[in-house]
Each structure stands twice: as structure tokens, then as C-alpha cells.
């Protein structure tokens, strides 16, 4: 049981990247639009984020340097500041969308009006982060989010077309609109690399007090198991959407549409499990982004930071994550559609991806920092290979967004 709890950091970080509000709807839309054609993109994205999370977890464990510490040192103040501004913008947009998402799920569960529920969502998140120790935040929201495994059960119950699913593991374009295919492929890949996942993951490694050599194995296991589970959840959502929505011509535009996909084969229990899973996953993503925002600021400007300190022991850090939630509340209460915001943030975040991932790759491969724990041949090869993927998707994201009218054609 202890071993299961130890990987909770990876589970929570992965849930933020694979099944937050935007990903849930985006994956369902990709499945409803293209069937199984983009299963490969989830797998490729999952392996990529495993490679980079393992690297930044290793750097945090060996050199005690979380990602933004490394970004500032390797990129210098000016480029580092640009990276900070870009990532904080994406963190703030995503956090706002997640807070709105929590309120939407509460509305599905209790049928109460939306706006008061935004305040309830904010209160739940603030109290959770204020009072729960870091390891309990990981456990409650990480493992709670795993209730989304109900989509895997729903997928099995729907008796999916296995040969189409296997074919989906190989990139192929079977649609009259290749640009739409490219838009969704870039979106699915980009979502896997959302920068706040590595900010949260590496800072979490420091919060959890990882020390070499024992915790290097734990880091590897956490990255592989956590993101592996995230990928399974993503694939399950894509599969149920392909099975249920493609034949009926349904275009998922709401979280409720995705929940309906669990209800149809599994009844009320499926619906409730899906909604509870969404509640924990989206809340977890909100906490990921607000803490990632505070970690970034504190690490860049050299403040005291860490959830392991009492709020008064790291006042600027505490004030920053509280401010992230406060700002999110103001954005969502203004009436902005959370799903629209998060889909935009996925696409815009990919523009900032190289600035986040290049410093990780450089430091993880530097034996002056890492000694005998520097990247080996496999990590180095995969790291450079995925950097090419990251650069390609970061260049393609905005043009595809415009050319496809956000995937609507």
C-alpha cells in the first residue's frame, strides 16, 4: 500500500496533463470526430512526458533544483522572465478553467445554480490546499481522479472494435480534412506536455524530500506509472467517444456529454463515478496549476517556498497560490466559458514548450550538476527526439488553430 501511495505525485501531475477539463472534452471531441485515429498521439505524448518528468524529477532529487530554478540559470534573466510570463499566463488561464470546471461538475451533481457553485468550488480548493499536507493533496485528488477509470470499464462494456483500436496506434489519416486531423493531433500531443505538469512534478519531488539513490527508482516508477495511468484514462475517453458518438453524430461540447458516455453503458452508477472522477481530476488540475504558478514565482525570484512550510513560513509563496485562485474566481464569475479557455490554453501553452523543456534536457545531461546520474544514452536520445516533436508542435499550434477554426472546420 505504501508503494501505491508513493507514486501519488505522478498520478496527480498526470491527471493535470491528461484528464483536466480541457482534455476530457478535447479527447472526447477527437474521438467523436476521428474515431480511433489519434490513439497513437496519446501514447507518443505519454512516453514523452514520462521521459521529461523522469529527467526533471532526477534533477530535483540529485541537484535539489526544481524546473524554474534551472530555467532561470540556463536561459538567463531576460529569456527566463519571458518563459515565466508565458507560463504564468497559461497557468492562470488553465487554473481559471479548472475552477469553472469544478463548479460545472458540482452543478451536475447537485443541480444548484452555477454562480454560487463557483464560490463553493473556490472555497473547497482554498481550504484543501491550506489545510491538507502536500502528500494528502496528492493522495486525495490523484487517486480520486482515478475514479475516471469508469471510462475504461464503459469502453470494455461497449465492446470496442479492437482492430480499429490497434490500427489507431499507427499514425494514419483517414479523413477528408487532414488539417482537422493535424489540429487534434497537435492538441492531444500538446496537452500531454502542458508545462505546469513538470513544474508541479519537480517541485513536488522536492516537497516529498526525494534523496538519491533510493528515490531515483521511485522517481522512475512514479513517472511511468502516473503518466501511464493518465494515458489509459485519456484513451478510454477517446474510445467511448468513438464508439458512442461517431455512429450517432454527436459532437461533444460539454463535460456532461462525456459523463453521458459513461451513463449510457453503465447506468446511474457509471454517471456518478464519472462525475466524481471529474470532480477530483479537475480539482487536482486546479491545485496543480495554482501551486505550479506559486512554485515558478518563488523559484524565479528566490523566495521561500513549499507546502511543507506553514503558510506563514513562506508568505509570498502562499499569497501567490491564493492569488491564482482569487484571479481564477474573478475570470470565471465574469461568465467566460471554462472549456473554451482551457482549449485555448492548451494551444497557447505549446508555444512556450521549448523554453521549458530545453533547460531540463541540458541540465539533466550535464555531469557537472548530475555527476553519475546525468542522462544516459537512452534518456539523451529520447530527450532530443522529443525536443524535435515539441518544437514541431509549438510551431504548428497557432496556425492550425486559425486554419481549422479551433477544429470546427
Amino acid at each position: 500500500m505504501t508503494k501505491v501511495f508513493q507514486i501519488s505525485l505522478g498520478v496527480l501531475a498526470a491527471i493535470g496533463g491528461f484528464v483536466d477539463i480541457g482534455d476530457i472534452v478535447f479527447n472526447a471531441t477527437a474521438g467523436a470526430t476521428l474515431g480511433y485515429q489519434l490513439i497513437w498521439a496519446i501514447v507518443v505524448g505519454a512516453v514523452g512526458i514520462m521521459v521529461y518528468s523522469e529527467m526533471c524529477g532526477r534533477v530535483a532529487c540529485v541537484a535539489k533544483r526544481p524546473v524554474f530554478d534551472v530555467v532561470r540559470e540556463r536561459l538567463g534573466y531576460k529569456v527566463g522572465l519571458t518563459t515565466l510570463l508565458a507560463s504564468q499566463f497559461v497557468n492562470a488561464m488553465t487554473c481559471a478553467a479548472e475552477v469553472g470546471g469544478v463548479a460545472i461538475v458540482l452543478r451536475y451533481l447537485f443541480g444548484l445554480p452555477y454562480r454560487p457553485l463557483i464560490a463553493v468550488a473556490l472555497l473547497i480548493l482554498l481550504l484543501s490546499v491550506w489545510f491538507l499536507p502536500f502528500e494528502w493533496i496528492e493522495r486525495v485528488f490523484g487517486f480520486g481522479g482515478l475514479l475516471l477509470i469508469v471510462f475504461a470499464v464503459a469502453a470494455v462494456k461497449l465492446d470496442p472494435n479492437m482492430s480499429a483500436l490497434e490500427h489507431g496506434l499507427i499514425p494514419h489519416i483517414d479523413t477528408p480534412s487532414p488539417l482537422i486531423w493535424c489540429y487534434f493531433a497537435v492538441g492531444v500531443l500538446g496537452a500531454a506536455f502542458m508545462p505546469y505538469e513538470v513544474y508541479f512534478y519537480s517541485s513536488g519531488g522536492v516537497e516529498d524530500g526525494w534523496v538519491p539513490p533510493h528515490d531515483l527508482k521511485l522517481n522512475k516508477l512514479t513517472a511511468i506509472a502516473g503518466y501511464g495511468l493518465g494515458a489509459v484514462l485519456s484513451i478510454s475517453i477517446m474510445v467511448v467517444a468513438a464508439e458512442l458518438f461517431v455512429p450517432q453524430g454527436i459532437e461533444p461540447g460539454f463535460l456532461g456529454t462525456v459523463a453521458l458516455a459513461a451513463q449510457t453503458p453503465l447506468g446511474e452508477a457509471g454517471l456518478l463515478l464519472a462525475l466524481l472522477g471529474m470532480f477530483f481530476a479537475i480539482s487536482g488540475a486546479a491545485i496543480d496549476t495554482s501551486l505550479a504558478g506559486a512554485y515558478n514565482m518563488a523559484q524565479f525570484f528566490g523566495w521561500e517556498w513549499g507546502k511543507y512550510r506553514k503558510p506563514g513560513g513562506a508568505p509570498r509563496f502562499t499569497l501567490t497560490w491564493v492569488a491564482f485562485f482569487g484571479l481564477s474566481f474573478l475570470v470565471v464569475i465574469s461568465g467566460v466559458d471554462p472549456i473554451f479557455v482551457t482549449e485555448l490554453s492548451v494551444v497557447f501553452s505549446v508555444v512556450a514548450l521549448p523554453l521549458t523543456y530545453v533547460p531540463i534536457l541540458l541540465v539533466a545531461g550535464d555531469s557537472n550538476y548530475m555527476g553519475r546520474h546525468a542522462n544516459g544514452r537512452l534518456a539523451s536520445t529520447l530527450g532530443w527526439l522529443y525536443l524535435v516533436v515539441i518544437v514541431v508542435i509549438s510551431l504548428a499550434a497557432v496556425p492550425l488553430l486559425v486554419l481549422t477554426n479551433m477544429g470546427e472546420g
Binding site: 451533481l109 450517432q248 453524430g249 459532437e251 456532461g256 456529454t257 453521458l260 451513463q263 449510457t264 462525475l275
Partner: protein, 116 residues
């Protein structure tokens, strides 16, 4: 209203009506919760009303005038059915009628889309 836009709007209506019919089906079979049905039916009704207003306010290309009117009227009727589902989220017999009406609306929207 261009041919392309008309086809896309018909597709959207078909999607919304089919989803509404699936939601109503859950009520008929007792496989859902009233809170979920009320909330999601309101969301679908709101989007369908918006679609009806947008279609209504466009200037159709030659040959599309009558079909555009039909589409707007169909969307308004579907929105009314979805609102009724939101108002009575646990009424199984009412939901059965709504399921059938929304299913017909989805079929009609599909026919309109194919005729464009």
C-alpha cells in the same frame, strides 16, 4: 447563410437533438439523476436556442431561404423539448415523448443537411 454554414448548422442541430434524446432515454429507463438531467438539458436547450437565433438572423443564399426557415423552426422546437426535459427531469412518461420528438428532430436535421 452559405451552403457550407447551412450544412454545419444542420449537423449541430442533429448533434444537440440526438444528445437530448440520449439524455431523455436515461430518464425513461431510470438510469440517471434528476440533477444531471436538469443541468445538462438546460445546457443543450441554451445552445439550441442560440443556434435557432443565429440561423434566424442570417440572410440565406439563393435557394436556401425555405430550408433555412425550416432549420430555424426545427431548432426552436428542439429547444422547447429540451427545456421541458429540464423542467421535469424525473417524469419518465414525459421523457419518452421528448425522446421521440428529439429523435425525429435529429432525423429531420440530418435530412436537411443531406439536401444542402
Amino acid at each position: 447563410m452559405t451552403q457550407y454554414r447551412f450544412s454545419k448548422d444542420s449537423e449541430s442541430l442533429q448533434s444537440l437533438a440526438t444528445e437530448g434524446s440520449l439524455l431523455a432515454d436515461g430518464v425513461v429507463r431510470g438510469r440517471t439523476t434528476s440533477a444531471f438531467v436538469r443541468t445538462h438539458a438546460q445546457e443543450l436547450a441554451s445552445d439550441t436556442e442560440k443556434l435557432a437565433s443565429v440561423v434566424d438572423s442570417t440572410h440565406p443564399e439563393d435557394g436556401l431561404a425555405s430550408k433555412t426557415k425550416q432549420l430555424a423552426s426545427l431548432a426552436r422546437k428542439a429547444a422547447a423539448q429540451l427545456s421541458a426535459l429540464a423542467d421535469h427531469p424525473s417524469d419518465a412518461s414525459g421523457a419518452a415523448r421528448i425522446r421521440s420528438a428529439l429523435s425525429d428532430a435529429a432525423d429531420a436535421a440530418e435530412k436537411l443537411q443531406k439536401s444542402a
